[in-house]
Assembly symmetry: C2
Homo-oligomer: 201 residues x 2
DNA sequence: GTCTATATGCAGATAGAC
DNA sequence: GTCTATCTGCATATAGAC
């Protein structure tokens, strides 16, 4: 961690905004410069190439997506509270960054190798803790047996998916952007129960 | 439906392949021409602009994503069988078109207005039928009350999501592309039970 | 209808003044 | 460090021969 110049930060923030909306190949250096209130040449001065700038943004964005979840999942909380906490926090977080999921999926789709820029296996320990909890419930007959990988994916899918298909929600269900917020609130209330019920034997 | 020239079809198929992998802004007309085994000028002869070609591909791709689901959901099958059928068919279908979800999400992210190219509200009737089924179960106490919109989204999320984050699965869970198929098969077996259980009261 | 050759425009990147 | 001006390359698109 070196001392970062204010201008550099300014550019990075602008780049974040533009790249998240347009994606790496759709973004224009000119637009980023304008957003940052500086000249385009300055972007190259600080970051060299567009690709380098895009990678910096991707790293930062990717590191934001999951860690909070593993923290909760790996904690000592009872299962029901883990579910409640993850759903609540995660939807709340994504409300403030609605473009993040679509951006990450787009980038990974265009260049799957970028997944390597994600932290390698950040959650093996957390996953093991979760699996233990699930196994205990299965043994005493209160829970259906399930692998932690599937359970986690199931939970996270239902949280993230609406953000990924937001424009479609309008066409399919008539949920316009003005009603999206209310729709999310409904999910925030109903999802924990849905997930808990799914686990019960 | 006019008679389509063979060359035109050939180009459309090639375009489908390339656009699904690279996205509209990432795709190159040159690459499409090569894939189709024709000259680049011919693409313009048949489709005018890249954007027009991209739109044609998007329309075709989008019309493939959902209709099968609504057909099943709107049928007279009992709920359990609907779930089983949708999960099974949908995962089976996406196995043959693993890039489709990532492509559509990317395109919608880059240009949300494109959602308008989707068929408008194809499933209101199907949705109503499903809601009725859910309400009946809730009234006789066998099911938890839930809105059909949420239920459908929940089910579809869990089916599609793994395809959207496939490159991440390797990094997070160590599921490489060689193991992805087995992972899908596991989900195909376990998801219906998970979903049925979630609905039970 | 299909090709080769070429025009056009634009975006990323550099040179160099201040 | 920050700017203006410019180069370079590439991708879309067109012209025109066959």
């Amino acid at each position: 961690m070196e001392t970062e110049s204010a201008t550099r930060e300014q550019i990075l923030t602008a780049a974040h905004t533009v790249f998240l909306r347009r994606g790496t190949s759709g973004a224009r250096m000119q637009e980023i410069a304008k957003e940052a209130g500086v000249n385009q040449a300055l972007l190259h001065y600080y970051f060299g190439t567009k690709q380098a700038l895009a990678d910096a943004v991707f790293r930062a964005a990717a590191s934001n997506l999951l860690p909070g979840v593993f923290e909760v999942v790996g904690s000592a909380l009872p299962l029901d509270q883990k579910i409640q906490t993850v759903v609540d926090r995660y939807i709340g977080f994504l409300r403030t960054r609605p473009y993040l999921p679509g951006y990450l999926v787009s980038e990974l789709h265009a260049d799957p190798d970028r997944a390597a820029l994600l932290l390698p296996r950040p959650g093996v320990a957390a996953l093991a803790a979760l699996q233990q909890q699930l196994d205990a419930g299965a043994e005493n007959g209160t829970l259906q047996p399930i692998r932690a990988e599937h359970f986690l994916i199931n939970m996270v899918s239902m949280i993230i998916f609406p953000f990924l298909i937001r424009p479609m929600l309008d066409v399919i269900f008539g949920i316009g952007s003005d009603q999206f917020d209310a729709y999310l609130t409904e999910r925030q209330r109903s999802l924990p129960g849905f997930i808990r019920s799914a686990l019960r034997s």
